[in-house]
């Protein structure tokens, strides 16, 4: 892998940028691998990268049915934060935030991680009590956070409507200054290039159609490019996790639903942070291009169509327009949907299964992007040692049978 640098940029400018090395190879699948990762999104690619880098396991294939980072990695609103309520979740997400800080250097790829701060608004007394509780819990776990009042929110976001006479007035917010946004595609591409440089085979246009088991153990997968053998198969397929599980007769505590987002036409810099509101379910930030990036809620019913219902968008935009009246005249450019794998407790599943050699990393629901590096890092440990990483252990599949749920649903800044 040729290193990217200011000097290489200058050097290649002399040949009109026509001789850059391809960021990764496009290999033919081998017959047998040590580990097969199903799903070439951010989490799958991060898993492959850390398997190779931290654990020295390089005979790995990432199988992707479409193209790398073309699913939810390309469809999210790129928010990164770690202000979760419960100890288990805050450890996992803060581990991820630590990795984000050095990720561009580590990957030699600019993921444009920008710690511009994240606001979670409160609109009523109970919201504010929950925010105080969460911020206190965060600080006990070493995660930065402060509780702001209306005036302090207005200072950070001057365009917000601070009138107390609206349906959902802004009474205050939690503020995590170390949160922010990152360039979602760059994260997938950076991990892909990094994994490839260690010898990991990234195989695109290769859909897994069946998982083959013998005597309760995995022996490989059937794909659109033929059979590929491996004693370890890791499914990192987000919304399609239920479909993967059904191949071996498993059920998961997951329901797949469309989640929508939309962007406006580019406008001049107006918001230099991330504003989220759980109560009215709207969140907004501004991309470097100038688009307002707006996240809506999930549809209420299961669906695999990568589009959402119109009334969900209408609901979100009415909340955005109340919070930011000046945005009512901004035109929306594009809207899209991704299929998210929602768990009953709004926490992920990073787990072995009762089939030997079959692992799942799924259930990230509406908030997986922020966890991309951490998820890959702990899941690689789980795969390499056949034993959960300490941060991943509480997120095993059996928590739904033992009852040890990590209920972030009503507790954290839920609008992931």
């Amino acid at each position: 892998m040729k290193k990217y640098s200011g000097f290489s940029l200058f050097k290649h400018s002399l040949s009109h940028h026509e001789n850059w090395q391809a960021a990764w190879r496009s290999p033919q699948p081998k017959k047998q691998y040590d580990v097969i990762i199903v799903g070439g999104g951010g989490h799958g690619l991060a898993t492959a990268y850390y398997l190779a880098k931290v654990h020295g396991i390089t005979n790995v294939a990432v199988l992707e049915k479409g193209y790398l980072g073309g699913g939810n990695t390309a469809r999210n609103t790129t928010i990164v934060r770690s202000n979760y309520l419960w100890d288990e979740a805050s450890k996992l997400y803060d581990h991820s935030l630590d990795l984000w800080k050095d990720l561009s250097q580590d990957l030699n790829y600019n993921v444009m991680f920008s710690q511009r701060g994240v606001l979670n608004l409160g609109h009523n007394l109970q919201d504010m009590r929950d925010i105080e509780r969460r911020v206190n819990a965060n600080r006990l776990n070493g995660i930065d956070g402060v509780v702001l009042n209306t005036a302090e929110v207005k200072e950070i976001v001057p365009v917000i409507n601070d009138s107390q006479d609206i349906r959902y007035p802004v009474l205050g917010a939690s503020w995590q200054a170390t949160g922010g946004v990152a360039r979602h595609d760059a994260v997938a591409w950076g991990f892909a290039r990094g994994a490839d440089s260690f010898g990991v085979d990234l195989i695109q246009q290769c859909e897994v159609t069946d998982i083959i088991t013998e005597d309760g153990a995995v022996v490989g997968v059937q794909t659109t490019q033929g059979f590929i053998g491996s004693k370890k198969v890791a499914c990192v397929t987000a919304g399609n996790s239920g479909v993967m599980a059904a191949m071996v007769g498993l059920r998961l505590p997951i329901e797949s639903r469309p989640l929508q987002a939309l962007v406006s036409e580019p406008v001049k810099p107006i918001i230099d942070t991330v504003v989220m509101s759980n109560a009215v379910h709207a969140y907004v930030s501004q991309s470097d291009k100038g688009d307002l990036v707006i996240g809506a809620g999930t549809d209420s019913y299961n669906g695999y169509g990568q589009r959402g219902s119109f009334h969900i968008v209408e609901h979100t935009l009415s909340a955005i327009c109340e919070l930011f009246p000046m945005f009512s005249r901004v035109r929306m450019n594009r809207a899209w949907g991704g299929v998210v794998d929602t768990c009953p407790d709004a926490c992920p599943i990073i787990s072995k299964t009762n089939i030997k050699g079959l692992y799942f990393n799924c259930g990230w629901g509406t908030g997986g992007f922020k966890a991309t590096p951490g998820s890959g890092h702990v899941f690689a440990h789980t795969l390499a040692h056949d034993e959960a990483h300490p941060f991943a252990a509480p997120f095993s599949l059996d928590r739904f049978n033992t009852g040890h749920l990590i209920d972030e649903h009503g507790a954290a800044g839920v609008a992931h």
Partner: protein, 109 residues
């Protein structure tokens, strides 16, 4: 937006009148205390979540306020039928597969 036919009101109404309430035909264990944690967890949380034909419950919140069942394709969003609680679906993934097979054989002959 779905237009859903309520089998009780006998009218097709807009989706926003209804709430989705999850997978249908999941029976509550008769004696919860007698079953294992695995069986109880499976009942509470584990779902089939198919890509394709799904039998699910909807609640007519702004109408008759009754629950009923819907057979819907989660990929195409086509609603195949709605039927009252306690009834079984007449259209399932199996019957659709069989119909498709018959149609294909018809084409071939």
């Amino acid at each position: 937006m779905h237009h859903i036919y309520c089998p009780y009101c006998e009218e097709a109404r807009e989706e926003e009148e209804y709430s989705y309430t999850g997978e249908a035909h999941i029976e509550r264990p008769k004696d919860p205390a007698a079953i294992t944690d695995e069986a109880w967890g499976d009942y509470l949380f584990f779902r089939s979540n198919p890509r394709g034909i799904h039998h699910e419950m909807w609640y007519h919140a702004s109408g008759c306020r009754r629950y009923f069942n819907v057979t819907r394709n989660t990929q195409s969003y086509e609603i195949h039928e709605t039927y009252k609680m306690g009834k079984l679906p007449t259209i399932t993934a199996k019957t659709i597969a069989a119909d498709t097979l018959v149609a294909q054989q018809g084409d071939a002959s």
